[in-house]
Symmetry: C3
Subunit: 373 residues, 3 copies
């Protein structure tokens, strides 16, 4: 049995199945892709005050992201330089002035410098300056924190802007949503039993929308035809729909600064390797992916709103949350169905992208290029 | 310590210990033995109607076994040819006419042909005939469904009949039990913490019967002497015993068509790689093994009866079930005790088969031959 | 980021991080270190009577330790020589005269000789003497049972005494505590999420004491200064402290036979590879380590007292237990904090030992030497 006669297909193929489950390939991705690129790890407004910190996992490393006394956010490997103890163990918290190791009390400034180490004051040979925390490149875009474990990474904008330009032809559309000024109204964390690339591939096509997303397809008719990136820059809402809620209505005004064409329009785009942005008139949804293993992915989904609207009495984000949470769960189920067959002999050479999905292959080629690099 | 002085033994040896726990050997077995031979995966009467299906796991593949509109049972890899989604996710169920993928709605006939794929009607280059479900060889014997993942497997009978002929010298004895006409009166699924081969080896010898199976040994005296295959074709019940129940009695008549010599007789045999058949006058017990990992095995045990007897008011299979369930659990405990030492240095070269067990070595050699092949 | 500028340090370094998490290195340690050295597995007074036994895990082997009719403790691989079944399955128990396999009833004497095997009486070719249980070297020191899986290990004293002599310069101090005469008043088993070597390294230094152990440092002032092995043979209690309890007091008299200088003194030492001994005036605390995996270690901690004192009405060990249990838990937390970063790129070359910790490097070199051997 099992003679694969599909090699004659004229269509692009996905990556071979092993790319979606093989632990060795996962390790290579962690090292060469997530361990080198700028990767989004959270939001800058999660640590508003000096001394506020996050601990995040990136490519196998625990990274401490902390706002300094000067207001600048910096990142360091969360590792004491003495005997290697983990310094901060909570997902987020606040330190007052210094980061002190609990094992032998070596202490570091918020800028990473070694401030003191007991019993070493009189040891001439000890070079305190050489024993500060090891820095990790840290930058921000649209209110998001991005880290790079690369030795000398290029500027963050060099990674993000070309993707926006390819998608929109300009930077102005995204700019009108002033992402850095928005605030989180609600957040949901999902754990998916699938490889992270299946989630990216799912987000990039709408061939499945008519089948998997009846509510979304009613709200955005071009999705029903499977058109995602092919119908122009934005996708227009159906007649009478003003918001991506189950009712199609909302009491929230459009975000400040939007243009006429943004009303009644949905824009979605991917910031590789791990962010999806969904722009709608009254709110923005940002997905952030964290690969947890070859067949396990965490997705943190934030619903963002105008802080002025959030401050109004009676503000309730749940109509927006209910809609995209439904769409999310529909997608996760499909991603997990695919994962189950990634090790099948039927998928050794991968599957097909039909013409409506052909653009996804560029993402696969991007991954291959990173792995070779 | 630990000088093994037993190398001078004149006895046959088991396989070296690593064959019972090494993940690499397990993978080879999955690929070369369970991935090539005909393997029993269930019963044909579990899917009596067109559209009824089973999903079964075989050598790492999910296989969809479905009865067609023509009544023929066919098997396919349970993998959509488009993006690889798992098609049917329940262990068993019914589809009405077509198998449709939930991701992008590609749909397949019960014979595996691709019936339709959205948005591809006008794509000339798309060869629909080349994108049917990938077939898996499927056949039946004695009411059991057997699959083979081999490219071009020999007929099922070529695998099964030589084993029966070696055991019985003819096919008639087994034939008298008309296995395909019997029905399941009760079924128990066991999960054992041991390698599947220990279960086969346990079934093949009765040297342990006097120690491990006092009830069975009372009912079948030759077992108490450790004689399994060595005492002639069948093993006679003790004086006054008419059925393998705890009381030795039963209200069930003998199965229709049995010969005089079958009454008061137990016949056991193995259909490699994964079926044990136990023929008794009024019922048949069939064990089916599913290796789940190097040290984990599922055993599905079915108690089969004459459907005419089952239809009678007051039919109760539990006297038969209680007996062999007790024997089963006694065996599983022994198999698991052995498993615990398979990685010991004491078992690096394997253990011994005493003369009463010497025939088991043929099974070990069969496994080695499959692994080489 | 992440340029390690610490290579210029004049300090000794720990082992590279991989030594604390790599499964391959763990396997090598199990084979070459724990599989060859004398390793402590428990206490001899746990099996006081002939026929009493322990089953213990050592370097992947289940070992049966049993007291013979002659009162001698012997050890054997817990493996039936026939088909490999585990013989004794309880952690401890009693057998009456013979050890019988439950599978086929082969039976062995308490001295390991094969006493009988069913159906083999008349098999001339079977050499019963060659099929006794495989012996494991077994000896005792200070009431502790030690095993060696080595083929022909040196005497136990050759492994233990040099360590005591290096630490004390003589054997008399330890001898005064008559360890073999003491009895267990309380025992706690801990499971730590860290490599066993981190636990050894933690025990060997007191640089962390001031930070991690405020109670201990108050009781033993030299510990507050980080002095463990550097302040002379024993560490003196603070003024007014007579026992290592939270109050510093106790109703227990000193152990019989101690010298004047032992009162108010704490002596700690390591018996590699897996025992820590803590001598205090009125009780002794013994830690025994069992590596369970690359990042998992069991520690069994026994509090030992004079049996005559234990026999007195109202004996209560819990003041002593509370103190060292607190110290233990403080230590385990630090060991686990270190474990979390052992795979970090910041620890690829290991961490530093400051001068107060420099002596630990000898332990690391001992491990490396074992791995090479």
């Amino acid at each position: 049995m099992v003679t694969d006669t599909s090699t004659a297909t004229p269509f692009a193929t996905t990556l071979p199945g092993r790319y979606y489950h093989d632990p060795d390939i996962y390790r290579q991705e962690q090292e060469r892709l997530f361990g080198r690129l700028w990767v989004c790890v959270g939001r800058a407004d999660a640590i508003p005050q000096p001394g506020d910190y996050l601990t995040v996992d990136l490519a196998g490393e625990s990274v401490l992201v902390v706002r300094g006394r000067d207001g600048v956010v910096r990142a360091f490997l969360n590792v004491c330089r003495h005997r290697g103890a983990r310094l901060c163990t909570e997902p987020c918290g606040h330190v007052a002035g210094a980061i002190q190791c609990r094992y032998h009390a070596w202490s570091y400034g918020l800028d990473g410098r070694l401030l003191g180490a007991p019993n070493l004051r009189d040891v001439d040979a000890f070079d305190r300056d050489a024993h500060g925390l090891l820095p990790v490149a840290c930058d921000q875009w649209g209110g998001l924190l991005w880290l790079s474990l690369a030795e000398d990474p290029p500027p963050l904008a060099e990674q993000l802007e070309p993707a926006i330009l390819r998608r929109f032809g300009e930077l102005d559309t995204v700019g009108r949503y002033r992402l850095a000024t928005l605030a989180v109204g609600h957040s949901i964390t999902y754990e998916l039993a699938c490889n992270w690339k299946l989630v990216v591939e799912n987000f990039m096509e709408c061939y499945h929308c008519a089948v998997t997303h009846p509510e979304l397809s009613r709200a955005v008719p071009s999705f029903k035809a499977g058109l995602a990136y092919q119908q122009g820059v934005g996708a227009r809402f159906a007649e009478g729909v003003v918001a991506l809620t189950l009712s199609g209505q909302t009491t929230r005004p459009p975000l400040p600064g939007l243009a006429e064409q943004d009303l009644g329009t949905y824009y979605g785009f991917v910031l590789l390797p791990n962010v999806f942005v969904n722009l709608t008139p009254d709110h923005v949804v940002v997905h952030r992916l964290e690969p947890l293993g070859p067949t396990q992915t965490r997705v943190v989904c934030d619903w963002l709103f105008d802080p002025a609207v959030m401050a109004e009495p009676g503000f309730d984000p749940m109509d927006a949350v209910a809609f995209f949470d439904l769409v999310n769960r529909q997608d996760w189920e499909m991603c997990e169905l695919c994962q189950q067959n990634m090790a099948s002999r039927a998928y050794r050479a991968g599957g097909l992208y039909v013409p409506l999905e052909a653009h996804i292959r560029a993402f696969n080629d991007f991954v291959l290029e990173c792995l070779e690099g």
